[in-house]
């Protein structure tokens, strides 16, 4: 149903003894993972264990407090731009303007990312074709989530970073999302997803609580 993203690179994404600090406090430290093309890694852990923080680090929104993230073997601190050009980040907010129509919302992101023309595909991929002209503010929570996820199909990108992608989705939409993710993986894509729910896909699991900080009195300044 959805489009097949064409994958540009065949290289992996990995973390080496990564540490993260938010609001002056260590969230996790010594975190390692490696993700090869075609692989899914599911992040699990209690609230506050740093799932969203890890995704924001991977998206380049945060800088590591220690360690490094490597894309195709290159440290993100050295080359952030080519990494950013080849990823999609879907946070827990949907980045929608309530007064704009569903199609106009997607169209903006398509044009901003520099690849106009895939709006229809995006809407169809998440089964939103019939709702294109409705203002995003009038859509239900689940429909808004689908519209947020539809950004994944606006342009091809190897790495998908998904924060609780299934929240608010009905069964049909979950299946649709799982299918799209499976196709993405089959084409050599990579997915890093934080979720509490079973995505219906096979992949590795990263338990974030294993990397909770052990330091006694860390930097108190």
């Amino acid at each position: 149903m959805g489009p097949n993203p064409t994958v540009q690179t065949q290289d992996g994404f990995e973390a080496r003894s990564l540490a993260c600090r938010r609001a002056g406090r260590l969230v996790f430290e010594g975190l390692d993972f490696s993700l090869a093309p075609g692989q899914l890694l599911v992040l699990t852990g209690a609230n506050g264990s740093g799932k969203s923080s890890l995704l924001r680090l991977a998206a380049g929104l945060l800088s590591p407090a220690g360690g490094a993230l490597l894309r195709a073997g290159v440290d993100l601190a050295k080359d952030r731009d080519s990494h950013l050009a080849d990823l999609h980040f879907v946070g827990h907010k949907n980045a929608l303007k309530p007064t704009l129509s569903a199609a106009a919302n997607l169209e903006f992101w398509a044009r901003f990312l520099g690849d106009a023309g895939n709006v229809e595909q995006g809407l169809d991929a998440m089964g939103l074709g019939g709702l294109a002209d409705l203002p995003a503010g009038e859509l239900s929570a689940g429909q808004q989530r689908r519209l947020g996820l539809a950004r994944l199909f606006l342009r091809p990108a190897t790495l998908w970073l998904l924060d609780e992608p299934t929240v608010g989705l009905d069964q049909a939409s979950r299946t649709r999302l799982a299918d799209a993710m499976r196709r993405h993986l089959e084409c050599g894509g990579m997915i890093l997803a934080a979720t509490h729910e079973d995505l219906g896909l096979s992949g590795g699991v990263l338990e974030l609580e294993r990397f909770a900080p052990r330091t006694a009195l860390e930097e108190w300044l």
Partner: protein, 221 residues
């Protein structure tokens, strides 16, 4: 370039649409100016004397009132994350969003200002100077404002804090702008005033883009 136009179009469009800040800024501007004859009396000589200051202070406040939405709405709905990791470097992003703020709030004021100046009995010789000062000076308001808007993004009580940050920095703009209009009223040369005003605007553009980008980076962390 495509990204810049997309962002500019979206921001200006949202401001002009119902519920946006353009109409509010215009109404506020007109109302504030209208209050002054009630306060200082309807005498033509008094009104003409205070007209440059009144029009400028009202324009300044109208521009300031819409600042709090400059980054705040994008921050709240998650768009700011995606804009920050998009193809535009952060200072350029700030530049585009600030130009959008100027187009959607200051540009309409330019049209309304001469009409309001008529009601304040401003001498006809002062109109070119009034318009020139608004054209040259209002961008400085938007760019200085961007610093305040970025610093207060995501805070409670952002509005009051924003005005406390921004108003002292507006002092030079107000002085040179009203100085030019006053000079024209009294038959003096307006060029020195306008040149200093232009210099203030240039400094505001450079410092504004840098400082607002640095402040936004803080709030993305």
């Amino acid at each position: 370039m495509r990204s810049i136009l997309a962002l500019l179009g979206r921001d200006v469009g949202l401001s002009w649409a119902a519920g946006g800040s353009t109409r509010l800024a215009l109404a506020f501007f007109a109302l504030t100016v209208t209050l002054f004859p009630f306060g200082v009396g309807p005498g033509a000589a008094t009104l003409a004397k205070v007209a440059p200051g009144v029009v400028w202070v009202a324009a300044l406040l109208a521009s300031m009132l819409s600042l709090d939405r400059m980054f705040e709405t994008d921050f709240e709905d998650g768009s700011l994350d995606l804009l920050a990791i998009g193809p535009l470097p952060l200072p350029l992003l700030v530049l585009v969003k600030t130009v959008a703020h100027w187009v959607s709030t200051a540009l309409p004021l330019l049209v309304l200002a001469p009409v309001l100046a008529i009601t304040l009995q401003l001498e006809s010789t002062a109109y070119p100077a009034l318009l020139a000062s608004l054209v040259i000076g209002t961008p400085a308001l938007s760019f200085i404002g961007a610093i305040g808007a970025a610093l207060t993004t995501g805070l409670r009580r952002a509005g009051v804090l924003l005005s406390l940050i921004v108003l002292p920095l507006y002092v030079p703009v107000l002085i040179f702008a009203t100085g030019a209009v006053d000079a024209a009223r009294n038959g003096f040369d307006t060029a020195p005033h306008l040149m200093f005003l232009g210099a203030v605007t240039l400094v505001a553009v450079v410092v504004g883009c840098w400082a607002a980008a640095a402040a936004l980076r803080l709030h993305l962390e």
